[in-house]
């Protein structure tokens, strides 16, 4: 497979132009700039808040300098507190074309849109010359998430994704699983898989933090649809979700925006530190996907039983359908039919191998179901994190 070679040495599997609004007030203008480009690889992202937030600034920087990104247009209203100069500078230093349009200094809505359209058109041409280089499985960073889980998720799609993770890690890839709020009840099992006892303690502490956080909010990471789908408790959902991580040892614990230093399996702690503030940790599945991408994920494995349709800006999403009935009614939205396992038509091993093969195909350019349908979801909200502790990364 061939990757897009970036100046920091990382390789991308896509070459997209980002149009990024830096406050909700600039969202419409940014959308009007991105929309006419349809399927030409122009993605809309942004942060809606007017108040400053170090987490959001960091995530935006990591996304705008992600290896799948070729060029970035920042759209600012002008008076919001987002540090647009620092973000533009970070993108410039990464060797990518970048431009900032400030609506208040560009003559308003229409003139900013016109300037943006012209810049994006030029940028698309410019990034065609990004060098291509041979890329191996070792260089891939793959995330996993579940959404719209039901009782079949933990029987088929999640353990099959876990097999695919094991195959990827065996070949030196980096794999990231996440949502400590959906690992409540699994902390002792996970700690035993940690490469060091100190990392095991950090993992237990991260899940205890999640349980505290959710219990203060009075709500677990559990939607009514989960119960309708046959999941009864957060522990049951967690144990099913946990099987996405496979059987490899856990090499590290990272937080949103941290890049794993080398191949192996990492747990992403997505629950904020400190007292509960800013509301729910991840308001919907795409908030977690954005954080996985900010940790460098080239693509994400998304398992679903109830039937999610989402994709993502920046990095492709491979949807693995756990439930054979859901697959029948929503097959156009799905990449892999793991429900065959329930019907006795395939083994976990076979579906795990199929997912692994699909990862390589998508990395080589094959569009996923959500890419074909034009999905480009993106959510970024307020959070607060402390840096990870010294025991969290491999020595």
């Amino acid at each position: 497979m061939q990757g897009f070679l970036r100046s920091d040495g990382r390789k991308g599997i896509r070459n997209v132009v980002l149009v990024a609004y830096l406050v909700e007030c600039a969202h419409h203008v940014a959308r009007e700039i991105a929309l006419p480009f349809g399927n030409r690889g122009v993605h809309l992202i942004g942060f809606p808040g007017c108040y400053p937030n170090a987490y959001a600034a960091r995530i935006m920087r990591q996304i705008c300098t992600h290896p799948n990104v070729g060029a970035v247009l920042l759209v600012s209203l002008g008076c919001e507190s987002f540090d647009r100069s620092a973000l533009a500078e970070a993108v410039r230093q990464s060797g990518r074309p970048v431009e900032t349009l400030v609506i208040q200094q560009s003559g308003g809505t229409r003139r900013t849109i016109e300037a943006g359209l012209a810049w994006v058109e030029r940028a698309i041409g410019e990034i065609q010359s990004v060098p291509r280089a041979e890329m191996t499985v070792k260089e891939l960073v793959v995330g996993t998430i579940c959404g719209g889980s039901d009782a079949t998720s933990g029987l088929t799609a999640n353990p099959a994704a876990g097999r695919a993770f094991d195959l990827l890690i065996e070949q030196g890839a980096t794999a990231i699983f996440e949502e400590t709020g959906e690992l409540i009840g699994c902390e002792q099992f996970m700690a035993r898989r940690a490469t060091t006892p100190e990392l095991g303690q950090e993992i237990i502490a991260s899940v205890e933090k999640a349980a505290r956080y959710y219990s203060t909010l009075g709500h677990g990471s559990f939607a009514p649809g989960n119960a309708e789908g046959g999941l009864t408790t957060i522990e049951e959902k967690s144990l099913g979700a946990y099987s996405k991580s496979g059987k490899s040892e856990i090499s590290g614990l990272i937080k949103p925006g941290d890049m794993p230093p080398r191949g192996g399996l990492y747990l992403l702690d997505v629950v904020p530190d400190g007292p509960v503030r800013f509301g729910f940790p991840n308001i919907a599945d795409n908030a977690e996907i954005v954080e996985l991408i900010a940790c460098g994920c080239h693509l994400t494995l998304f398992t679903t039983g109830r039937g999610s349709v989402v994709g993502s800006a920046v990095s492709p999403v491979i949807k693995i359908c756990a439930n054979p009935d859901t697959y029948r009614s929503m097959s156009e939205d799905m990449d892999i039919n793991a429900g065959r396992i329930l019907q006795g038509q395939a083994t976990l091993e076979e579906v795990g191998r199929e997912i692994f093969d699909r990862v390589l195909q998508v990395a080589a350019g094959m569009p996923t179901a959500s890419e074909r349908l034009g999905h480009q979801e993106f959510i970024l909200t307020y959070k607060w994190f402390e840096p990870i502790g010294p025991a969290c990364l491999p020595a």
Binding site: D150, A151, T152, G154, L155, I184, G185, C186, F189, A211, Y214, S215, G218, H219, G220, F222, P224, A227, G229, G230, T232, T233, I234, E235, E236, L239, G240, S243, G305, N323, P324, D325, L342, Q343, G344
Partner: protein
């Protein structure tokens, strides 16, 4: 190993429930490890059925790990869900809560 109906999946040997691979109607008889269990409720695809008698307060085990405690006595062949099982960590919510009201444990 003794015979078990292919529609039942027990994920770990210590589990006291099994998942069903397809919807099973009440009244059906399923063989589990050579023993016949009369199914007492309709059990939808992927949902849980008790394999043995589970006393009120006893842990329900799936994947070899506790997934909560029985809120009342559960008989073999009975549907296991929010009406007879609750989390040991966090309450499970359904869609039925009133706007503005203190959110309460539903089960």
């Amino acid at each position: 190993m003794q015979q078990t109906d292919a529609r039942l999946i027990r994920l770990a040997p210590e589990d006291n429930i099994a998942a069903v691979t397809t919807t099973i109607e009440a009244g059906e008889r399923l063989v589990f490890e050579g023993r016949t269990i009369q199914v007492l409720d309709r059990i939808p695809t992927g949902h849980k059925m008790a394999l043995v008698f589970i006393a009120a307060g006893q842990k329900v085990i799936k994947y070899g790990a506790p997934i909560g405690s029985a809120t009342r006595e559960i008989r073999p062949g009975e549907y296991v869900h929010i009406h007879n099982l609750k989390s040991d960590y966090l309450p499970t919510y359904t869609r039925q809560y009133a706007y503005g009201a203190q959110q309460q444990r539903q089960y």
